[in-house]
Amino acid sequence: MGSVTHCGILELLARTVISNQVGGNMSSKAAASIVGMMAIALYSGMGMAAADPYQLNLPEPQTIIARQIYDQHTMLLWICLAIFIGVFGVMFYSVLKHRKSVGYKAANFHHSTTVEIIWTIIPFFILVGMAFPATKTIIAMKDTSSPDITIKTTGYQWKWGYDYLTGEGEGISFLSNLATPRAQIENASPKEENYLLEVDNPVVVPVGKKVRIIITANDVLHAWWVPALGVKQDAIPGYIRDAWFTIDKPGTYRGQCAELCGKDHGFMPIVVEAVEPEKYTQWVAEQKSKSAAAVVDVSKEFTMDELKAEGEKVYAANCVACHQANGKGIPGTFAALDGSKVATGPKAGHIDIVMNGKTGTAMAAFKHLSDVQIAAVVTYERNAWGNTAGDVVQPSEINELRK
């Protein structure tokens, strides 16, 4: 178990009591005006650290939409609590008093039209009261117009890809993989604080700017979800959806894929880093110079060793989850590459399946990788483990195929 997970039930109870006493220090006007008693919020996780093992409520909201969601949830809890006390107060009074064992004689009434009409109409109006603020929030959530920055995110099995489409940072593009080492997942080394919620390349956005996020998927359904931002949107292959957020203060906000997408669904987190606009400008400049340095002349001829070395890296980042490090796959579920017909046959077929995927199977298209990456990984697969095809795929061949 991790270092934060040692407490028992008693401590849970103690901390719940404490949080009831000191909690609610974040109550906002809207909820306060309706409830007026936020200070003793029934369950408030506010004021606790983000990774609190006994967090009872939604995470601290960081956008206007997330704030509205938080407040509406609090309001609904209070309404439900009031109804709960009303209904079950009556029922448990009845259970205690109207029992045969205390000699209570049964009455014989069996309907009252007036009462029945009253308790049909009152809930209706309570519901209207709940729906009203929700309607306003829904309309606001849908307003993705005039963003400062537009980022496209693509769900892959099992990572996220980001392309900065418009606004400052336009042209930046990267993949974001889980950064937690395999050893921690397999309990071979101690789990660290952000276990399963850390990535190699976070999405960086400036605070105070309206960010529109366009969401799609490459293979199966995924969902892009960052709780603190109040955004959850399914990523659908072949279709585009969008959402927006404006983050109030700098920080690192973590989320996860929220739609079952296959075996590593639990291992494709999302990390959004919100920074001051100046720092954002700096980050953009760094990314641009990095990508300029990374531009490779596709007509360059690579040696087998260069391609294999690069290919092994690409394989570890993209292929290993299914086909496994030893190339044996998982029998019955994911095909083996070691000794497979594709990896030992003509290279055209091999390149085709990597670039275009295979319909009806879990093999997705990997066209989004660069020419060098595709050439490298195919070369690697054909010459790793027991495979000895001996041939080399050059980036120029891939580049040619794209035309």
Binding site: V4, M91, H111, T120, A131, L196, A223, I236, R241, D264
Partner: protein, 526 residues
């Protein structure tokens, strides 16, 4: 099981086959009801073992017991088995046993079809379960089998699709039988508005089943052809739409939720008046509320898809329609409370489960209203909050209803009283461990734990551990139920015809155990 019917087999005039063939060939509603109930209990234990394996894996962060692929197979199969194997057949079992006895009919309308409806289920269940042993394993795309993920699966998915087809055919035949029986075979004098509530809820449920099971069959058939015959219903690259599957699936899926809860409403509406010794409050408003819930349930399906992306008007319509269901549901809860009010209550096990049902189902209703509100649903969709919500309505709702009904009618079925002390122990253990398992999952969902993940961030560790402990307690407590039932079948105090002082419906005019053939001459209801 045989002990229940030994006295019947001895009747020379019955001339039905004995041994295994008796059960294979039977057209008797009581035999078939018994088989449905045992089948569902076996499926309940099977799905339960899967649930416990899931909870064992989630006991601690990290991967310990199962790998992620198998974990997904378990969550998928747990859902399919519990819904199609445990809950639905259990209610059909109750319908078979009780509806003829409660309306004064000699048997079900289509006795041979009744046999066929049941005997389709075991092969379907075998087909579904054997998918674990084929290459690629069992379906692992969630019980909702959303494409394109479900198109990626191995042949286990095709087996599941065929199993769903067969179970759907069984459900449709069962429903036609129930509708016909109720509409045509009521005793003279029993008008529709004099029928027991359990019969009413089943009549409405059966209509829902006939309406939506073919829709599910259509959805999975399209999936089948997408998988095997190159069609592109749900493949965007071929001009299809993955979201269309969700619309069709949930057009079945949401009424399905009410298919699993309405008969439980019916059972509770029988049990509460009996043990409060007072007639059901607002009988006609109960009937209208049940019908309204059924109708509304057909126009709210897209609330399962708020995060799939929908026009704002779509989200608003489905939110308003969904919230509206709270009105008739509230009426039912108020009516049950008013039935208890100024009654003369005793708290035998069926009553305990019925009160537990109202209490916890209402909590599930509250979280349901919270999930209905689109902005909040955006946060809790596909998290443990939703898991908690639907287990409050399906376990402490549907399952508690089944337990309540089982204890209520066991004396009528077996002729013996069950062990009241053990029954109460079973109730309290179930109640405590259920809440230990599922209440904390609300917190997990709000804090951000997605559903269907085999491993989780450290902040979720403690509540998961509590939930897993609760789940094992809950699972083991159900073995006590098995023991109580077996003990009741084998012996116990002789149950009188009118087992419960407050029992008013027709089955309590029959001797206990109910003879093999009942109401061959219809009773007259005044």
């Amino acid at each position: 099981m045989a002990a229940v019917h030994d006295h019947d087999v001895a009747h020379a005039h019955d001339h039905h086959p004995s041994g295994m063939m008796r059960w294979m060939m039977t057209t008797n509603h009581k035999d078939i009801g018994t088989m449905y109930l045992w089948f569902s209990f076996i499926m309940f234990l099977t799905g339960g073992v899967m649930a416990l394996t899931i909870r064992a894996e989630l006991f601690q962060p990290g991967l310990q017991i199962v790998n992620p692929e198998f974990f997904n197979q378990l969550t998928t199969m747990h859902g399919l088995i519990m819904i199609f194997g445990a809950i639905m057949p259990a209610f059909v079992g109750f319908a078979n046993w009780q509806i003829p006895m409660m309306i004064g009919a000699p048997d079900m309308a289509f006795a041979r079809m009744n046999n066929w409806s049941f005997w389709l289920l075991p092969p379907a269940a075998l087909l579904l379960l054997s998918s674990f042993f084929v290459p690629g394993g069992a379906p692992a795309g969630g019980w909702t089998i959303y494409p394109p993920l479900s198109v990626q699966m191995g042949m286990g998915m095709d087996m599941a699709i065929f199993a769903i087809h067969i179970m759907g055919a069984s459900s449709i035949m069962g429903s036609i039988n129930i509708i016909t029986t109720i509409l045509n075979m009521r005793a003279p004098g029993m008008t529709l508005m004099k029928m027991p509530m359990f019969v009413w809820t089943w009549l409405i449920t059966a209509y829902l089943l006939v309406l939506v099971m073919p829709v599910l069959a259509g959805a999975v058939t399209m999936l089948l052809t997408d998988r095997n015959f190159g069609t592109n219903f749900f493949n965007a690259a071929g001009g299809g739409d993955p979201v269309m599957f969700q619309h069709i699936f949930w057009f079945f899926g949401h009424p399905e939720v009410y298919i699993m809860i309405l008969p439980a409403f019916g059972i509770v509406s029988e049990v509460i008046p009996t043990f409060a010794r007072k007639p059901l409050f607002g009988y006609s408003s109960m009937v209208y509320a049940t019908a309204s819930i059924a109708i509304l349930s057909c126009i709210v399906w897209a609330h399962h898809m708020f995060t799939a992306g929908m026009p704002v008007t779509g989200q608003l319509f489905f939110m308003y329609a969904t919230m509206l269901i709270a009105v008739p549901t509230g009426v039912k809860v108020f009516n049950w409370t008013a039935t208890m009010w100024r009654g003369s209550m005793t708290f035998e096990t069926p009553m305990l489960f019925a009160i537990g049902f109202i209490f916890l189902f209402t909590l599930g209703g509250f979280s349901g209203v919270i999930c209905a509100v689109v902005p909040i649903d955006i946060q809790v969709q596909d998290t443990y909050y939703v898991i908690a919500h639907f287990h409050y309505v399906l376990v402490s709702g549907a399952l508690f209803g089944i337990f309540s009904g089982a204890y209520y009618w066991l004396p009528k079925w077996t002729g013996h009283m069950y062990d009241e002390t053990l029954g109460k122990v079973h109730f309290w253990l179930t109640m405590i461990f259920f809440n230990l398992t599922f209440f904390v999952q609300h917190f997990l969902g709000l804090a951000g734990m997605p559903r269907r993940i085999p491993d989780y961030a450290l902040q979720f560790a403690d509540f998961n551990m509590i939930s897993s402990i609760g789940a094992f307690g809950f699972g083991l407590s159900q073995l006590l139920f098995l023991y109580v039932v077996l003990k009741c079948i084998r012996g116990g105090a002789k149950a009188p015809a009118k087992t419960w002082e407050g029992g008013k419906t027709l089955e309590w005019t029959l001797p206990s155990p109910a003879p093999y053939h009942t109401f061959e001459t219809p009773p007259v209801v005044r």
